[in-house]
C-alpha cells in the first residue's frame, strides 16, 4: 500500500479544502469513494482487468495537485490557433481540469443545451447533476474510479434535452499545462435525453515537458432513441500517463459510437464499460493506436448485453513500432434472456519490430442461445505479396509499407460519422506514420 498511503494522507488532511473548491453534488460521493479506495487500493496486475498495466507505480512519484483551484494564466485561444475549414464545431477548452471561461465566438448551442464547467453547473442545477453524477461509475469495484471520485473537483457537463438535435459537433480540447510534475483528476458527465442527437469530440494535449498524470472518469447517459457520438483523440507526449474510464448506459433504441484514437502518448489505459439496458440499442466501439518508442496503450472494454435485441460492434487496431506495448482486452457478456443479441468484435495488430509487444484477449461470456456472437483477433506483419506487388510497380519499399499501414488503420477512421473529421484524421495519421508528428504540436484539427 505504498503508493496509496500518500493519497490517503492527502485526502484526510485536505478533504475540507477539496470540498470547498468543488460543488455539493460532487462532494456527496467522496466519503464513500474514500472508504472504497482505502479498501481496494490501486488495481494490481494480479487482477484480470489490469493484467497488462501496473497502476500503482505511476502514482508513486510526487505530483502537484491544484486543490486550491488556482487559475493558470493561459489563454488557450492564443496557444491554439484554431482555424479549420470545413470543421465548424463549437469549441471549448479545459485547462487541466478547469473549464476555460473564454468562450469562442463560434460556439453556438441550441436552446436548452448545457455545456460548461461541471462544478458551476452543479451549483446552478444541483438536482440534475445529483441524479446522474456517480451513478454509473461504481467506486466499490475499481480503485481507480474511487480515486478519481475522491479527488475530482471539476470537469465538464454536456446536457442535451429530449428532442434536441445538435447539428454542430462540440469540440472539447483538454490541455495539460504545468511547470512541475502534475496530476489532474477530471470528470465528464454527458446526458443525452430521449430522441436527442449530439456529437462530442475530445482532444487531449500536453503543453509542457513535465510529467503529467491524468485520471478521467466519463459517464454517459443516452436516452431512448437518442444518438450520440464520442470521439476521443489523444496526442500528448511520452511523459504523460493517462487513465481514462468511460461508462456508458444506453436506453432502448439508442445508437452510440465511441471512437478512441491514440496517436501520441506515454502510457495510456482506457477502460470502457457499456451497458445496453434498453432493447434495440446499438453500440459501435472503435479504437486505434499508433505507438512507438516506449509508448504503451492498453484498451479494456466490456459490453454488457442486459436485454434482448441489442447490437454491439467492436473494432480495434494497433500499429506497434520500436519497444511499444499494446494490450487489448474485450469482454462481451450476454446475460440470460438477452436473446437476438448480435455482437461482433475484431482486433487486428501490426508489430513492426522484435521488441514490440502485443497482448490480446477477446472474451465472450454467453448465457443465451439465440444469439450471434463472434470475435476475431490477429497479430502479424504487412503482407509480403502486397509489398512485392507495389515494389514491382515502382513504389519504394518505405512508401509501400506506409501505404499499407495507412490502409490498415484506415478502417477505424472510416467508422467516423463526421466527414470533415475523417479527412483530417486521414491526414493526421499519414503525418504520424511519416514521423512528422514527433511530439505534441497540437493536432491538425486544432492547428
Amino acid at each position: 500500500m505504498k503508493a496509496e498511503q500518500q493519497y490517503i494522507d492527502l485526502f484526510t488532511q485536505y478533504e475540507a479544502l477539496l470540498c470547498r473548491n468543488s460543488a455539493e453534488a460532487m462532494n456527496a460521493p467522496r466519503a464513500k469513494a474514500f472508504a472504497d479506495f482505502e479498501r481496494l487500493g490501486f488495481p494490481t496486475r494480479k487482477e484480470e482487468d489490469y493484467k497488462y498495466t501496473e497502476v500503482g507505480k505511476y502514482f508513486a512519484p510526487d505530483f502537484g495537485l491544484n486543490l486550491n483551484r488556482l487559475e493558470f494564466p493561459v489563454n488557450p485561444y492564443e496557444v491554439f490557433k484554431c482555424d479549420v475549414p470545413n470543421m465548424s464545431t463549437s469549441l471549448y477548452f479545459v485547462v487541466n481540469d478547469t473549464f476555460d471561461k473564454h468562450v469562442h465566438p463560434s460556439a453556438q448551442l441550441p436552446e436548452g443545451v448545457l455545456f460548461g464547467s461541471l462544478k458551476e453547473m452543479a451549483r446552478l442545477y444541483p438536482d440534475l447533476i445529483k441524479s446522474y453524477y456517480g451513478k454509473l461509475a461504481d467506486t466499490s469495484q475499481d480503485g481507480l474510479t474511487a480515486f478519481n471520485t475522491m479527488f475530482a473537483q471539476d470537469g465538464v457537463l454536456m446536457y442535451v434535452p429530449s428532442g434536441v438535435v445538435m447539428e454542430r459537433p462540440v469540440q472539447l480540447v483538454n490541455i495539460l499545462r504545468a511547470d512541475v510534475d502534475f496530476m489532474v483528476n477530471r470528470r465528464l458527465l454527458v446526458i443525452v435525453e430521449k430522441d436527442a442527437q449530439a456529437k462530442l469530440l475530445v482532444c487531449d494535449h500536453a503543453m509542457d515537458n513535465v510529467n503529467f498524470l491524468s485520471t478521467q472518469v466519463t459517464e454517459v447517459f443516452v436516452g431512448e432513441n437518442a444518438v450520440f457520438d464520442l470521439y476521443e483523440l489523444e496526442e500528448t507526449h511520452n511523459s504523460t500517463v493517462r487513465f481514462n474510464q468511460l461508462f456508458v448506459d444506453q436506453q432502448a433504441g439508442s445508437n452510440v459510437l465511441l471512437n478512441g484514437i491514440t496517436l501520441h502518448n506515454g502510457t495510456t489505459r482506457n477502460t470502457t464499460r457499456v451497458t445496453l439496458s434498453g432493447e434495440r440499442a446499438e453500440v459501435n466501439l472503435c479504437g486505434m493506436a499508433i505507438a512507438d518508442k516506449n509508448e504503451q496503450v492498453d484498451n479494456n472494454t466490456f459490453i454488457d448485453h442486459k436485454v434482448p435485441g441489442c447490437t454491439s460492434n467492436e473494432l480495434f487496431k494497433y500499429v506497434l513500432d520500436d519497444q511499444a506495448t499494446g494490450a487489448f482486452a474485450g469482454k462481451v457478456l450476454v446475460r440470460p434472456g438477452a436473446q437476438h443479441t448480435s455482437s461482433q468484435q475484431t482486433n487486428r495488430n501490426l508489430c513492426a519490430t522484435r521488441e514490440a509487444r502485443m497482448y490480446t484477449q477477446p472474451q465472450l461470456e454467453i448465457y443465451a442461445d439465440d444469439v450471434k456472437c463472434s470475435h476475431g483477433a490477429t497479430v502479424g506483419q504487412l503482407d509480403e505479396n502486397a509489398l512485392f506487388y507495389m515494389q514491382q510497380r515502382g513504389i519504394p519499399l518505405k512508401e509501400a509499407r506506409l501505404l499499407l499501414m495507412f490502409a490498415f488503420v484506415g478502417e477505424v477512421i472510416d467508422c467516423i460519422r463526421m466527414e470533415a473529421l475523417k479527412d483530417r484524421l486521414h491526414r493526421l495519421v499519414e503525418k504520424r506514420f511519416r514521423g512528422e508528428l514527433n511530439k505534441c504540436q497540437g493536432c491538425a484539427i486544432c492547428k
Binding site: R354, M358, Y359, P362, L364, D369, K372, C373, Q381
Partner: protein, 483 residues
C-alpha cells in the same frame, strides 16, 4: 420450437450413462486422508526407489503451500482432500498379472463390459491396451509384440523398476511438481499410469491405448502417463475413461507428459467419458487434469485430439511447448456439456523455437444448464521467429439456460509472428432445420446431423475406432437437450 423426442432419442435418454455399473471385486484400499505417511505408504506399497519417494515428498510439501486455483470459469464445491482414499488396488496381488489367467475374472468382466479388447482373441482389433482400474495398471496386452521392436509400453510402476534411467530422466521434466495445485497433488500420490518409449526410427505398428476406470467408492484416481518418442519415431496413443454412477463426487487428477524428440510424431487422442452426474447435477467426476507435451526436437510434431463428454467438472488444458525449430502442434477438441456439467478447457501453445506452427480447433456444445468455456493461450517468445498460429473456437448453444464462453489470450513478443484467432457463437439456425425438415428429416435427426457435422472437423482427427465411439457419445450426451 416444439419438438417431440423420437423413439430412438427416448431409448437413448433412458440408457443414460451406460458405464455406470460397479464391479464387486476385492480391492486393497488404504485409509482415507492424506499426510506424509500416506505418501510414504503408497511409495512403499509399490517398492519404489528412494529418488521417487523424495520426488513425491517434495511435491507433497510443495502442495501444502498451495491453494486451489480459482481463476477458471467454474463453480467448484469445496473438496475435502482428507476424505479421499489415495490408493486402491483391485489386483491385491504382489506380482503383476503375467497372463490373462492370472487376472481376476471379475476384472475381466468389467473390461469386457466396457468393450475393451483385453483378450488375445480380440487381437484383430490390433490395439495394444494398458488398462488402469482405480489406481493400478491391470493388464497390458501385446507387450511381447511391441518388445520385438524395442517399444516399451507398460505401467509406470513397472517402468520405474525396469527402466529407471528413462523414467528418472523424463518424469516431471514437462510438468514439474510445482506446476500447479493438482500437478503437485498428483506428483505426491500418483499410483500408476502408462509409460511409453518409442526408440529411434521406430514407427509403432499399432495404436497404443489406455483405459482408465474408477471403481472403488471414495477413492480418487491419480494416474500419470509418460510418453517419450525418440528421434524419427511415431506413435498414436488413445485414452478412454469411464466411472460408475455414484452420488458422491469423485476426484480425478492426472498428469500426462509427452516428450517428442527430433522429427518424431506423437498423436494423443482422448475420449473422456467419466460419469457426468445425473440430470439434477448430483454426483459425477471432478476431472482436474494437467496434460502437456514438449516438442523438443527439430521438426517434431505433437497432436492432441480430445472429445470431452463426461465429468461433472472438467478443468483441462492439454498444452504444447514448441521448443524445437520447425516443430508443429495441433489441438482439436470437442467439448459437450449437458444438464449441470461445467467445463473449462482449452490449450496453451508456447512458441519458443523458430518457424513453429500451431493449430487450435475447439468446438464447444452446451445444452441444459451447463457452462462450457474455452480458455487458451498462444504465446510467442522473443526468439520464436516465423511462428504461426491459427485458432478457431466455435460454440453451439442448445437451450436458453446454458452458457458458452471463450477466453483466449495472445501474448506476442516477436514481430515475425502471424497469429489469428476466430470465434463464433450461435445456435442451430432455423434455416438449416427447415431445410432438413423440408427434405423429410425429422427435427431431432436434423439436430443430430448438424451437431455431428459441426464437430466433424475434430472427429475426423480421431483414429477410426474412437471416432465411431465418439460420435455415439456425442448423441447420447445431448439426449433430452433438444427442444
Amino acid at each position: 420450437m416444439q419438438l417431440e423426442p423420437n423413439k430412438y432419442v427416448k431409448e437413448l435418454t433412458r440408457e443414460k450413462y451406460k458405464y455406470g455399473f460397479t464391479t464387486d471385486i476385492h480391492t486393497d484400499i488404504i485409509d482415507r486422508g492424506l499426510d506424509e505417511n500416506v505418501v510414504r505408504l503408497i511409495s512403499a506399497k509399490k517398492n519404489e526407489p528412494e529418488w521417487l519417494l523424495n520426488f513425491r515428498l517434495k511435491a507433497y510439501r510443495h502442495w501444502l503451500t498451495m491453494d486451489m486455483p480459482t481463476w477458471a470459469h467454474l463453480t467448484i464445491p469445496d473438496i475435502d482432500y482428507q476424505a479421499i482414499s489415495y490408493y486402491a488396488d483391485p489386483t491385491r496381488k504382489k506380482e503383476g498379472p503375467k497372463s490373462l489367467d492370472d487376472v481376476d475374472p471379475e476384472l475381466l468382466k468389467t473390461f469386457n463390459k466396457l468393450g475393451i479388447p483385453l483378450e488375445e482373441q480380440l487381437a484383430l482389433s490390433g490395439m495394444a491396451v494398458d488398462a488402469v482400474m482405480d489406481s493400478v495398471s491391470v493388464k497390458t496386452t501385446f507387450k511381447e509384440t511391441l518388445m520385438e521392436k524395442g517399444i516399451i509400453f507398460c505401467s509406470i510402476s513397472e517402468a520405474v523398476r525396469e527402466h529407471p534411467d528413462l523414467v528418472k530422466k523424463y518424469l516431471g521434466s514437462v510438468v514439474g511438481y510445482r506446476d500447479n495445485f493438482f500437478a503437485a497433488l498428483n506428483s505426491a500420490v500418483f499410483s500408476d499410469g502408462s509409460f511409453v518409449y518409442i526408440p529411434k526410427g521406430v514407427r509403432c505398428p499399432m495404436e497404443l491405448s489406455t483405459y482408465f476406470r474408477i471403481n472403488a467408492a471414495g477413492t480418487g484416481q491419480f494416474e500419470r502417463t509418460l510418453i517419450v518418442a525418440d528421434d524419427d519415431s511415431y506413435v498414436s496413443y488413445l485414452e478412454g475413461c469411464t466411472a460408475p454412477m455414484r452420488d458422491e463426487n469423485q476426484l480425478h487428477a492426472a498428469i500426462v507428459e509427452i516428450v517428442v524428440l527430433d522429427r518424431a510424431e506423437v498423436k494423443y487422442s482422448t475420449v473422456q467419458n467419466w460419469y457426468p452426474g445425473d440430470a439434477e447435477g448430483k454426483g459425477g467426476v471432478y476431472n482436474f487434469v494437467t496434460k502437456r507435451g514438449i516438442c523438443k526436437g527439430e521438426g517434431s510434431k505433437l497432436s492432441w485430439t480430445q472429445v470431452e463428454t463426461g465429468s461433472a467438472i472438467t478443468w483441462k488444458y492439454p498444452s504444447c511447448i514448441l521448443s524445437g525449430d520447425n516443430s508443429t502442434a495441433e489441438f482439436y477438441s470437442v467439448a459437450v456439456t449437458n444438464n449441470y456439467q461445467q467445463a473449462d478447457t482449452g490449450t496453451k501453445m508456447i512458441h519458443l523455437g523458430r518457424n513453429t506452427r500451431s493449430t487450435i480447433v475447439s468446438k464447444g456444445i452446451s445444452a441444459g444448464r451447463s457452462q462450457n468455456s474455452y480458455r487458451g493461450l498462444v504465446r510467442v517468445a522473443e526468439r520464436a521467429d516465423g511462428a504461426r498460429n491459427y485458432s478457431q473456437c466455435d460454440s453451439l448453444l442448445l437451450g436458453s439456460e446454458c452458457g458458452a464462453h471463450t477466453f483466449p489470450y495472445m501474448d506476442i513478443h516477436n514481430e515475425t509472428a502471424v497469429v489469428e484467432h476466430e470465434a463464433t457463437t450461435s445456435k442451430i439456425s432455423e434455416d438449416q432445420l427447415f431445410y432438413c425438415n423440408q427434405r423429410g428429416i425429422s427435427t431431432e435427426d436434423a439436430v443430430g446431423l448438424i451437431v455431428n457435422g459441426y464437430a466433424k472437423e475434430v472427429l475426423n482427427k480421431l483414429p477410426m475406432e474412437f471416432a465411431v465411439e465418439a460420435q455415439k457419445l456425442l448423441s447420447v450426451s445431448l439426449e433430452g437437450s433438444v427442444g
